[in-house]
């Protein structure tokens, strides 16, 4: 009984530790990082055609790209930073008219 309790306590401690390690970073934002788009374009080119043919950034709206990129982050084993950069690139690349206006 005592050994079982120690094992259970140990497992709980490990799981709690993992969650605490994760607590701060998951929601980090890159708003205003001017290099995010550049990094995202590179990450997109490096990773997003490894398994399947490349999908056009204009295929989806901004809000649709979010769960899509999160799904692909998990499936392809990308880091959180890579996923955020790729999302920035896709969301800025999917509206040519707005991008022209932003660049004026």
């Amino acid at each position: 009984m005592r050994d079982t309790n120690r094992n259970s306590t140990g497992k709980v401690a490990i799981i709690s530790g993992l969650l605490l390690i994760g607590a701060g970073n998951a929601a980090a934002q890159d708003n205003g990082d001017p290099m995010a788009f550049v990094r995202g374009a590179q990450s997109w080119a490096d990773n997003c055609a490894r398994c399947h043919n490349m999908r056009d950034p204009t295929e989806f709206r901004d809000d649709v790209w979010e769960p899509t990129v999160l799904h692909m982050r998990i499936r392809a084993g990308l880091t959180g930073q890579e996923a955020r950069d790729i999302l920035t690139f896709l969301q800025k690349s999917n509206d040519p008219a707005k991008n022209q206006e932003d660049s004026k």
């Binding site: 994760g22 970073n25 490894r50 398994c51 399947h52 769960p67 890579e82």
Partner: protein, 414 residues
């Protein structure tokens, strides 16, 4: 001064009243016209400005409406998936005809940037006209940090690459799965458990990824009916972990450069033995067996050329106490499959050629075969593809003829 003098004086100072009147009249007319034009221009300007103001007002209202749709909500829903329709001709095993229609919706429910539910269903028409429904995977994914995601539920096996990343019709470059990588083959398909996975940045452009898991594990099926004993690894996820054992495994992928990924996979544990095809009840008195999986995979992309290959082996260790089917399953049992594939898309075209060679080796001699397949694809778009391939199955058993056939598939990933 006489009147005549006055007349002459008058004549001098007002020489041509009619002319002056004409000039004045023209001036007046001209002034009126210019005035009218000016008024008209002013009116036109006012009218144009009024239209501009109206358009601006409508545009602002439209922008407010778009903003009000609140596309930037905390919860987001996205439906993706794929579908394919298959045709076969020339097979010695089955008649020519349309052999498959599959609809596989994939649901993504995201909450903030920390939680994702992802699930895939498969709807397929069956041989007897009914509809088969299967759960391919369903997981709740918790983002712990930039390098760790906890995945809980039924997941596609992370052993190797094909099952997890390349099996959808619009991604697989041939109409069929590599021999041994489908249902009833040698590669694990799915499992129910817990994963921890993520990416690891290394130096420069080098990176790595990993997936570790604990799960219910597969079951060894022993079917001794009909004289011949058939042994099969049931590797689809089940909720009945009747042996009470867990399987622990994972995959580590290394990318020395973005164009290359090499991976190694493995799993260990103990599995139960069932009789027939029912995994919910183990064969009475049959001991659990030691189980291992080893795998390796590689993929290389260079311009429009893709090379890939995998090998996976599931092994069940011998058990002297095994009595099922008169001891037919007592020895070491290996289920091995591998393939190599090359695909090349002609630059600046929508055409792609693919060749693949693979092999399946199991304890069931009648199932063992090598397979080569050569095909041509046309990509209407990067996610809409029609594939035609000629495939030859060369069975190891001398009494089984080769099966040559043409497979055609139209696939759409959405």
């Amino acid at each position: 001064m006489t009147s005549l003098h006055l007349f002459r004086v008058t004549a001098v100072f007002v020489p041509n009243l009619k002319g002056v009147f004409m000039k004045k009249s023209r001036l007046i007319q001209l002034s009126l016209v210019m005035s009218a034009l000016a008024s008209g221009t002013t009116l036109a300007d006012e009218h144009t400005q009024s239209k501009i103001d109206s358009l601006e007002s409508r545009l602002n209202a439209l922008q407010k409406q778009v903003d009000g749709n609140n596309l930037d909500s905390v919860s987001k829903l996205h439906i993706a998936g794929y579908s394919n329709v298959d045709f076969i001709a020339g097979s010695d095993i089955q008649e020519d005809g349309f052999t498959a229609v599959k609809f596989a919706p994939i649901f993504h429910f995201q909450f903030s940037d920390r939680v994702l539910f992802e699930g895939e269903l498969e709807f397929e028409a069956s041989e007897n006209g009914e509809t088969e429904v299967a759960l391919e995977y369903a997981t709740i994914d918790l983002v712990l940090n930039d390098y760790m995601v906890l995945v809980a539920g039924q997941f596609l096996s992370p052993i190797g690459q094909f099952r997890q990343n390349a099996h959808p019709g619009w991604i697989n470059k041939l109409p069929t799965a590599p021999v041994g990588f489908g249902h009833g083959g040698a590669a694990p398909l799915s499992d129910l458990g817990l994963q921890l996975r993520g990416g690891i940045p290394l130096s420069g452009s080098m990176r790595a990824n990993y997936a570790t898991y604990v799960s219910n594990g597969p079951t060894l099926l022993v079917d001794g009916h009909g004289g011949e004993v058939e042994l099969e690894m049931e590797t689809e996820a089940t909720t009945s972990n009747t042996d009470g054992n867990m399987v622990y495994g994972g995959r580590f992928g290394f990318l020395p450069i973005p164009a290359i990924e090499v991976g190694v996979s493995g799993a260990i544990g103990k599995i139960g033995v069932a009789e027939g095809h029912d995994v919910s009840e183990l064969a009475p008195g049959e001991p659990d067996r030691d189980y291992t999986v080893i795998g390796a995979d590689a993929i290389y992309n260079w311009s429009t050329l893709q090379l890939r290959g995998e090998i996976i082996q599931q092994s069940v260790d011998s058990e002297s106490g095994s009595a099922i089917a008169d001891g037919a399953a007592a020895g070491d049992l290996d289920f091995t499959t591998w393939y190599v594939q090359a695909a090349y898309r002609l630059p600046e075209t929508k055409w792609e050629g693919v060749v693949r060679y693979g092999d399946l080796d199991t304890p069931n001699e009648d199932a063992n075969r090598s397979q080569w397949s050569a095909g041509v694809n046309y990509l209407f778009a990067n996610n809409v593809i029609v594939k035609a391939a000629y495939t030859v199955d060369n069975f190891d058993a001398s009494g089984i003829d080769d099966d040559n056939r043409v497979n055609v598939q139209l696939a759409y990933g959405f």
